[in-house]
Symmetry: C2
């Protein structure tokens, strides 16, 4: 598949990646953008701040791919060895770039920060490279060509890298290459296991044409199915992929949550917007994570009022009017409690819909009766409430993520009037 088209390797540089001190989100973002532009990412490689390792990575990726995109190692401090190495690798010396220097000076003047020797060095670029202007920061992008290969070095700061990719790198690549077409269609299922789903659609899957393939992407207890098509003519390919996607939708209809590549928070926001309704949440064990998922999206204020994160029983009583008797008789992790939380938060916030969760996320707090991972989730409005118990078996972080996703899914089903829940 990948041999038919131009391929990209992404190299990320930094010891912080090698010791796991940061998670590499740059590569994922770059892959998304390249993919959307019809450019296939073939390999992603991360190496530490070692001249030798960086040099070898440049050599090897030059053999794998026509385009090598590099991020990291371009900041102002002493652990940065990438720029001198690039300079040497492409056979030139470091020279001062007047326009970059002027830009760096302006940034420091504007912010009132002291301008040092070190900052002047940031305006140095290897001779022979083409400078890509970085309007978001001091380290410029650098475009090199060598033996039919294109190498582009960018700073590792995500905001700066994204500016360079969007404004300079991708437009130039599209001008240079006929990228062909990649088309993805993705749907989201809930309530069915991966193996069972695979058996259910096996006959159809086996008959897919060779240029269209299917991937299974498990996602917090739900499964996304993605069709990927490759082809020369965009319209023909779009029609072919659409036709297969429609068949897949029919086959999976009873478990279908969304027929687009959309996250659960995006889906809920969209449904609320379409219905012109507003949501509030009452969160105990998820501790504000559901609120964060909803408010992480632009325009959240159109559909979301807010949340009461009632982490203690006291707050459940004070702010959500859960009854003392309910808490002492059934416990905080119980159906009666989450039902009262729904009523309480609807009342307190004047919202149309509400979600409530209460559970034990671990590692401590479990009992034989209610082990770690036990969660009660409710969704409802002023007319009706549905509630459901879950048992998750992950670590704290995952239990929170699963709970949030399933809580949003319960609201989705409530809004659709699905039965049974």
């Amino acid at each position: 598949m990948e041999n038919e088209r131009i391929a990209v390797s992404i190299i990320t540089i930094g010891d912080e990646l090698m010791i796991g001190q940061v998670i590499d989100t740059n590569s994922a973002w770059m892959s998304q953008q390249l993919n959307a532009a019809g450019i296939w990412v073939k390999r992603r490689v991360a190496v530490g701040d070692s001249r030798n390792d960086i040099r070898k990575a440049l050599d090897e990726e030059g053999r794998h791919s026509q385009i090598i995109l590099i991020t990291g190692g371009l900041g102002p401090t002493a652990d940065d060895i990438t720029k001198p190495l690039l300079s040497e690798y492409f056979g030139g010396k470091l020279i001062n770039d007047a326009s970059v220097l002027k830009h760096v000076e302006q940034i420091f003047t504007r912010s009132g920060r002291p301008f040092t020797e070190r900052n002047i060095k940031q305006a140095e670029v290897p001779e022979g490279c083409e400078v890509l202007f970085n309007e978001r920061g001091t380290a410029p992008g650098m475009w090199f060509e060598k033996e039919g290969r294109i190498y582009v070095a960018m700073p590792g700061v995500p905001y700066e890298m994204k500016g360079l990719m969007t404004n300079a790198v991708i437009p130039r690549l599209l001008k240079r290459f006929n990228t062909g077409n990649i088309i993805h269609r993705t749907l989201l299922t809930s309530g069915i296991g991966e193996s069972f789903l695979a058996d259910h659609i096996a006959v159809w899957e086996n008959e897919l044409p060779s240029h269209i393939r299917l991937s299974y992407l498990p996602n917090f207890g739900m499964i996304r199915l993605r069709l990927t098509g490759l082809g020369a003519d965009r319209q023909t390919l779009a029609d072919e992929v659409s036709a297969e996607f429609e068949k897949l939708k029919k086959l999976t209809a009873q478990w279908l949550a969304a027929d687009e590549d959309i996250t659960m928070p995006q889906l809920i926001s969209k449904m609320l917007r379409e219905r012109k309704k507003r949501l509030a949440t009452a969160e105990s064990c998820t501790g504000g994570y559901i609120a964060h998922l909803i408010t992480g999206q632009p325009g959240a204020s159109e559909v979301y009022n807010g949340s009461v994160v009632s982490y203690t029983n006291d707050l459940k009583k004070r702010l959500l009017h859960v009854e003392e008797d309910t808490l002492s008789r059934y416990g905080a992790v119980s159906e009666p409690t989450v039902r009262q939380m729904i009523n309480g938060v609807l009342e307190a916030t004047g919202s149309d819909y509400a979600i409530a969760v209460s559970g034990i996320m671990g590692p401590d707090g479990g009992s034989p009766d209610k082990p770690v991972g036990t969660v009660w989730v409710a969704a409802g409005d002023r007319q009706a409430i549905i509630a459901k118990e879950f048992r998750f078996h992950h670590d704290r972080k995952r239990n929170i993520e699963y709970t949030a996703n399933h809580a949003l899914n319960l609201l989705r089903r409530f809004m659709l009037g699905d039965e049974p829940f």
Copy 2:
């Protein structure tokens, strides 16, 4: 540096990585664990679900490293091609492993899910590999040895991979190799730029011995400084690194937020626990993210009461008793509003300390007067409140992260009685 010691390559497999549909958190976690065990990760490589690319990655990484850890591509569905390839690569055929089959059957029986042909295939392993028991899932780990190299294949599901790494892979590697020692010491600074900091400590940094090195890790507007030492004798190395770390602490004293590798939420939780005090938050623009950061940690209930996520002005009035007059005169993003939010949430939750934030995270909602990125943050108790205005220049997600981090830092400084704020 890396040539002195055994090195690991991590290979992650999956088209979802190549199109950026998921972020690779497995590699970071594995790197952390290996590093803590004194094992240096030299390279991390991600490739798609292509036989050819996987095979080449196995070849190449075998040349780079003595240990090659592989995750992904072992699930039950048809896009998984890794197991047959491994079988072929290590020169055997797939055989049924009785103990794995029994385990897989038990998992399905226990959860009441249907057991299919496909699940039986999960019990197949390449002959010649040593099976690593996966108690958390159906796909076993597989340990291969070839030409002096160790290859271990694990499923990509994080929870399952983590179990295998912790219980099988790392203990075996430690038994097999004398790993030497890697020691890290990290501190966190706030309120100083990277270049300025670098100049300030340049003389000391240039005199560091060659087996100890310094890295700068910018972190939401703060900077972590990490010393990494490599050495044969653990105690000697620890003493050497400690001595340099103490010098660094003195040099950076005026900006020092923490002298350990700790996140801001961990630091705040620790300070609250030491003081036996409880926190509440009143969040507008961060939409529950600060609550999530605090409650994401085990034992949060000891120090945290909860949050009022007052995403609308209506909720600021209803739940936090912000005055209508304040909102109409100064706006929701103003010092008087966040001060009233502090008082309101202390009152509503009966807490010792509170944080309040209100701002414009973007992409919409800005004005010439208060552009996107304008945030008012307050921290306080019943005696005093401090408030500060910030202007961030990132995208929505980053603005939320920066705001949360700076809000926690403001509380830290309030608790310490720092002046000026």
